[in-house]
Symmetry: D2
Subunit: 307 residues, 4 copies
């Protein structure tokens, strides 16, 4: 088996905004420094959790440049190249290359409604246009198609893909992907994107995790990953239960979108801890307010977190 170059806890870094809605680079720097101090193994910027869908290309460029500058080679920077089809994704790849990131992450086409063969061509077309390692991001809840595990392993064996971030919520398929990848010599680094089932994913053989909640509590995720590495599964389970309790912050808002509730909760927690200056969200997503904020900060306080 090969040792994947990318493994461990790689949080999808939030994009802090100031009260006017502009990218808050100072807050971003504090956030990234806290993640690195917490022991994370990489940074995934411009993911769904980074509000990539809501940022203009200029804003995306500023986030990319800030990421590379602050990381300063201490941990790899992996960048989302988020667009709907190959030609447009490659436009995003150029922004990422110019900023000097270490790897890129692309979804299947969306808005378009591709066949399975077209999805495969999509990844091949992107990979052929860059020398950066390419991860596939499996997120059917957003792009409305599921990536086939046999296709993923085939592209891994051929060197088209370096890894997969699985946010499909389909644990049966993820287990099949892990097994097929192992049988093929483990060409792919496999990450789960689900915060509260990391224990099971690591037990099944995942190489790492991309937890949105890792923005708020990077340290516990690193401990969890290390405990799994030491095969101390009882400790893994304890840590998983602890972060799962903290994850309840994303279920406190009612009647708003998933972005408003989930990312809004992460931002609210980090603003409460003083890591970022505002829980402001991008247009058209409302920022959390009032009782919802109070319920979230109470959960954060119970978890004993500090900046």
């Amino acid at each position: 088996m090969t040792t994947p170059a990318f493994r461990g806890v790689i949080p999808p870094v939030l994009t802090p905004l100031d009260a006017s809605g502009a990218f808050d680079e100072t807050a971003f720097e504090r956030l990234v420094e806290r993640l690195i101090a917490g022991g994370v193994h990489g940074l995934f910027v411009l993911g769904s959790s980074g509000e990539v869908a809501f940022l203009s290309d200029d804003e995306r460029t500023r986030v990319l440049e800030a990421s590379v500058r602050v990381a300063a080679g201490r941990v790899p920077v992996i960048a989302g190249v988020n667009e709907m089809t190959p030609a447009r994704v490659i436009g995003q790849v150029r922004l990422a290359e110019a900023a000097g990131v270490d790897a890129i992450v692309a979804t299947a086409p969306y808005y378009a409604r591709p066949s399975a063969a077209e999805v495969e061509t999509h990844f091949r077309t992107i990979a052929a246009a860059t020398s950066l390692p390419l991860f596939a991001y499996d997120v059917p809840v957003r792009v409305h198609s599921k990536l086939d595990h046999a296709m993923l392993v085939r592209l891994g064996v051929e060197g088209v893909l370096a890894g997969v971030k699985d946010s499909s919520g389909d644990d049966v398929a993820f287990r099949r992907l892990v097994m097929a990848n192992r049988a093929a010599g483990s060409p792919l680094a496999l990450f789960t994107g689900h915060e509260v089932v990391v224990d099971g994913a690591l037990l099944a053989g995942a190489d790492g995790v991309v937890p949105g909640l890792g923005n708020v509590d990077p340290g516990r995720y690193v401990q969890l990953f290390d405990a799994a590495g030491a095969a101390d599964w009882v400790r893994v389970r304890e840590l998983q239960d602890e972060v799962a309790e903290l994850f309840e912050i994303v279920f406190q808002a009612n009647g708003v979108s998933g972005e408003a509730a989930g990312l809004g909760a992460f931002k609210t927690a980090l603003a409460h801890l003083g890591v970022i200056s505002s829980n402001r969200m991008s247009q058209p997503v409302p920022s959390l307010e009032g009782d919802t904020v109070a319920r979230i900060t109470a959960i954060v306080d119970r978890a004993g977190l500090s900046a």
Copy 2:
């Protein structure tokens, strides 16, 4: 009641590519001239049928500029401003404004998963950023949310929206939209995007149609619209049946995406008629070949179309 500024047959103009995959401006000019000669009441460029999802911003700009140049004021040019969230849509609006189009069309957010309130804010944010008339494009099969008819009429009354292109496939909801719009003084121009149910939509009170098949047979759609205007519903039905038979071209391909089958059929028909030079599709969509092409051209020949 007000008379809507936009009405009639406004086909979603295809984007012809040459054999290398580049935008074929000469073919585009032939296509547009044939549409105008066929009597269409406007041009909708950079829609889903225009492969907007697959075009880079540079390619989109070239299509916009060619559209305005060729139309030359004879019919209005309505442009899709297709991106996933308000900030990015507004980037597209700037391209459309620079080219000099007459109106723009935006979908609900996608990739993002907005609440109903966020969808409304999305349209308000776009409209506030431009003086161009804004149409809402209701296409849940691509963006995975349905536009609420009461919201649409409310935005029409307030002057935020000028009209709606309905490709929701929900004829019950469309009827409710027509009735609510009429009760509010008809602030919205209402178009159906479904080729084979135009008769029913016009009977219900639609202001026009945006038929992909109108690229192939603009004349019959114009006759159909005129017959409806003359309340000659028996003739409307006959014409609808004729275009419905032609529409079978989109069902000839098997095992490919909807884009490959549907848009590929339109391009194949137009290449057969000599209007465009190639049925080439954008990456990663395969172009139709072999028996499929033969079945499509046979249907086109039966319909007695000419360039």
Copy 3:
């Protein structure tokens, strides 16, 4: 072309309950007599609108027997045989046969997740077990698969199916079904189940309509059908608009199921008109109350209906 044995307005008859939740045969008799007086061309009992899903086999038998007794040969009685797979549907067919109905209606399998071939076998198996004419009920919102139009016409040509009740909400597919059926010699009688698009369906060539709202206003639907027969499409449209306004009663309840809102509205309207004695729904569906009832009865009053 053959003349279908079944055509016209065939409402899906509600199943009135008394205040204790038991089948109210007296109210059912009043309801059916009012439908026949309104000129309907048949009765469809034990459909979704008849709350068939909520009735035990004993209750279903009582409804079947009452239907045949009250109809007394004046109009045909068509009965839903609603179960999840062939063996269980055939059990329901035996109940319908024993009661003496004139035709039966079956959906695709549900709970089970059949392939297209299994759906076809399903209908063949049912038809082989009875001499009653069999209609296919296309209702993907309940059974989660769509019936293929080519399969339906094939079974029509072979004499397996006598007709189709289309509640798919897919007007493009319905148009294709109408055209394919006509090309095959019209073996199938084609009905739409959507109350507010009957004008378009008849213009397209439907043989009739199965409108839940026909329980409340049978007369207008019969007028609409007759106007279509006379090719008076302007009058058809007027009548369609009138029933569409009345149909707003189904959108008055908030936060309840479709059954509670829709069937509850029909029952509330009929109780207000004195046709049935109670708007009581089957367990676990709540009956409409308070302001919702007031809004519904106001719409009914505006429509000028009487018992």
Copy 4:
């Protein structure tokens, strides 16, 4: 914490048919004896894997009676009471009670489209009609609604529900259910229905598993459960990988329904092992044949199973 009365490996027992399609009671007896010899902790009969959807009430009764007779008190018998709404489910409960089973399992309503409140009333209505312990079966892929974890725990605390069989494929929601149940004093026995993620489910705190594949390899599931009880997670993982390899039998058929592929594979494996006499499936599901059978038996042989 309470000790749940139901825990461990409780396979959803297949319903063997003979070559004519009739219930094969002799094969059923062999199957059940082999399961008990394999150490299973209970039998779940008339589940989806038992083809309950395809059996008439008479056939269901024969399965129930055979189950109780063969189990003879050695392990508890839990019976599916599978119907679409409360009144009809209670009809099934009477069959189960008459046969003498130990507990029953019901889904949310289907075909009907209930609100969350109606789902809760549904379970309350069923529980009020029987003294048997009631399990909720969460299977959105069949019934098209997901059971809310807070509702489930509430009904557990009130004594309405004894447990949950989770086949939702939503591991995040299952983790939240486990945590909420534990916080409430563990009133519910929690089972996962997914064969290849049992390790993660047990690590998270599940009380047991209902694996369809347990029909084929009961012994390894019992070993896996015991290893988890001994906190030997390395061994749990090894066993999970072994059964996951065997589970590939369900992915060998192409172009057929999930029932045909999955249950067909289990039956094919058991027929190959000589436990049952035929891999025959219920109408309209085709039995597996030819190369598919060969691929399945090769996988079974590699796993080293015996009757």
